[in-house]
């Protein structure tokens, strides 16, 4: 297999009558999914796009959205899954960066976008999935409503992808320290390296039922979709609206007999605390996989207390640039330190530690670096960043994760901390520098620093510490007005999970001996 789209193709051929996808009361078999994919593929192929052009999908989860992703792969396009809740300015910036040719919108975003005056010039076509009315966007974009399009083919086999291996399959966007989000390029081979490893490690079977809790723009969804497809299993796509209600999710896990759960720790903790997730609620659950942030040890112990011996718990570690690169099976008799281990490298990756002097080692402490099939070819349109985050050594191309770690005497890897100002909140990767950069742009502050106050992502909060510009204060008359202007600016460019909870005023920012802002001192000051 060398094209990610072949994963689905295999099960369409082998298990045409088995249920593939379920979402909001609708379900399709593999054969029906293949037909739907072919209809979208037919639509895309009729647009006269070039191989490798990008399709942005800014839509809430649905069977159609997954069909669009698969159709893009089928006709050699690159898909970019975007969170439709992002502010329009951020969506436009991502679309411009990815030079998107086609945007796929659902009803909600179609309505929002019809109000916009300007759209990026790169967009040639806009396709709406659910709106009965014709989409109207104020620009030169050709708008189509999928329900009005007469597809000339629903034959899946008609489309044979040419792109493979090192060609791009999809783009994932994440927060960037320079003030701009980063587009992480993922090739067919990158994605398949992970999917093949996961299939071999977890031995997913055809009778399994995956719950896709993460958003489709999140790399956790890669396992939910592609490993389920590879096994010929079924996947329930949990709509974003429902995913927030923990008791609903727990009922679904029980009633739909979910076997595989892959979530961020804060989501699992939410299920435990608010949804009463416990042994009785998950009779069929085979494994709980978590990734994206640290699982507080006390809570993980509570989970392990009632997990049955035949149910597996795994910690999967890896930044978006590598997807999962290490894994650790958490056994009930595990000896924790201040956190749980991130374990050992997956079969398609090499993981090592880079010392300050640049030497790569497999013991001691250092920055975690990764090489192998799973490593992205780099960021889109970011040559300088690529140079600083990727390097060649010992005939391998390595990615610097920015995480510090150490190997214990059993060669098990543990996390120690971060090299930079990247934090994780409920699995979202946030560069605090990006928030600061947007505040600086307002020219309402002389200095600003964003600090994460708290010990975990559920109770913690981002706080902005600002030295307000005196001229701005004089001209607007009060700090409250200036604070509101900053909030408005941030709301227009940042997704909700990156917005600061509080904006505080200080006369000057405390500095360390080396002249850097002393974030620790601000943290100690409290809020």
């Amino acid at each position: 297999m060398d094209n990610l789209g072949q994963v689905l193709e295999r099960s369409i051929n082998l298990y045409p009558d088995d249920v593939a996808l379920i979402c909001s009361g609708e379900q399709v078999t593999y054969a029906q999914l293949g037909e739907r994919v072919a209809q979208f593929a037919s639509y895309f192929s009729g647009l006269g796009l070039n191989k490798g052009d990008s399709v942005a999908i800014a839509s809430f989860k649905s069977i159609d959205v997954v069909s669009v992703m698969q159709a893009a792969l089928r006709v050699d396009l690159v898909y970019v899954s975007l969170d439709p809740r992002f502010p329009p300015e951020r969506l436009k910036e991502l679309i411009r960066d990815a030079a998107v040719s086609v945007v796929v919108l659902d009803e909600f975003l179609s309505q929002e976008w019809s109000k916009l005056e300007f759209l990026p010039d790169c967009i040639q076509y806009a396709l709406t999935l659910h709106d009965e009315k014709k989409l109207e966007i104020k620009s030169d974009v050709k708008c189509h409503n999928f329900k009005e399009i007469n597809s000339d083919s629903n034959d899946y086999k008609r489309f044979v992808p040419q792109r493979k291996g090192e060609d791009l399959a999809y783009l994932l966007y994440t927060s960037g320290s320079t003030g701009k989000p980063k587009g992480v390029r993922i090739t067919h081979d990158n994605a398949l390296a992970f999917v093949e490893w996961a299939a071999s490690e977890f031995e997913f079977s055809q009778d399994e039922h995956f719950l896709n809790h993460a958003q489709l723009s999140f790399d956790l969804s890669v396992l939910d979709l592609y490993n389920a497809f590879l096994a010929g299993a079924r996947v329930t796509l949990l709509p974003e609206d429902d995913a927030m209600f923990f008791s609903y999710v727990v009922n679904l896990i029980r009633d739909d007999q979910i076997t595989n759960l892959y979530m961020v720790p804060s989501g699992i903790i939410g299920l435990m605390d608010k949804g009463a997730l416990m042994k009785e609620a998950m009779p069929k659950l085979k494994r709980i996989l978590f990734a994206g942030e640290k699982f507080p040890v006390t809570r993980l112990k509570a989970l392990l207390d009632w997990v049955e011996p035949n149910q597996e718990v795994y910690n999967l570690y890896g930044p978006i640039e590598t997807n999962v690169c290490t894994f650790s099976k958490i056994k009930t008799d595990i000896v924790f330190r201040s956190e749980c281990p991130i374990g050992e490298a997956i079969s398609n990756a090499q993981v090592a530690l880079r010392q300050d002097n640049g030497i790569i080692s497999y013991d001691g402490e250092g920055e975690i670096v990764v090489s192998g099939r799973c490593v992205s070819p780099g960021y889109l349109n970011s040559p300088i960043l690529n140079k600083s985050k990727f390097f060649l050594q010992d005939n391998h191309r390595w990615y610097c994760t920015g995480d510090y770690g150490y190997f214990d005497k059993n060669k098990v890897l543990w996390l120690k901390g971060r090299k930079d100002n990247l934090i994780k909140i409920r699995g979202y990767r946030i560069e605090l520098d990006e928030i600061e950069s947007h505040v600086q742009d307002t020219e309402l502050v002389d200095d600003v620093v964003a600090v994460f106050h708290g010990s975990n992502s559920e109770s913690g909060a981002i706080v902005l510490w600002c030295v307000f510009n005196q001229q701005a204060l004089d001209s607007y008359g009060s700090i409250d007005i200036v604070v509101n202007l900053i909030r408005q600016k941030l709301k227009s460019v940042l997704p909700h999970f990156m917005l600061p909870k509080l904006i505080k005023s200080v006369k000057e920012l405390p500095k360390t001996n080396r002249g850097k802002v002393d974030r620790l001192k601000l943290k100690e000051r409290g809020i």
């Binding site: 909600f108 927030m244 559920e458 408005q488 997704p495 909700h496 917005l499």
Partner: protein, 104 residues
């Protein structure tokens, strides 16, 4: 101030919830209306839902049934107000509308 169910009209519950959502949402727009979608716009996320629920429960001094905390209730402020108003009426509860003042 505590208000008995008999003197509550829906606008009091609505105003109470507007303040609560504004307090706990990191993403509340200036023109928040009763019909603004809360989840789809990112105004509430899972954490906000937990915080708003916890706050409502402290102000009515009782737990909301799990079945009431769902996507329908949190669809808009109007839906949330309807749910809370009906629940207060049904169970003859007090609503401490000054709760926010004690929350710093």
């Amino acid at each position: 101030m505590k208000l008995r169910e008999s003197v509550i009209d829906k606008s009091i519950v609505q105003n109470f919830l507007v303040d609560a959502v504004r307090k706990f949402s990191p993403y509340c727009p200036g023109d928040l209306s009763m019909a603004t979608p809360l989840i789809r716009t990112g105004i509430v996320d899972s954490l906000t839902i937990m915080e708003v629920t916890k706050y409502i429960e402290s102000c009515i001094n009782t737990s909301l049934p799990v079945a009431k905390i769902n996507r329908e209730s949190f669809r808009t402020l109007e839906a949330l107000s309807d749910m809370l108003f009906d629940f207060i009426k049904e169970h003859n509860l007090d609503l401490d509308i000054d709760g926010l003042k004690g929350m710093g």
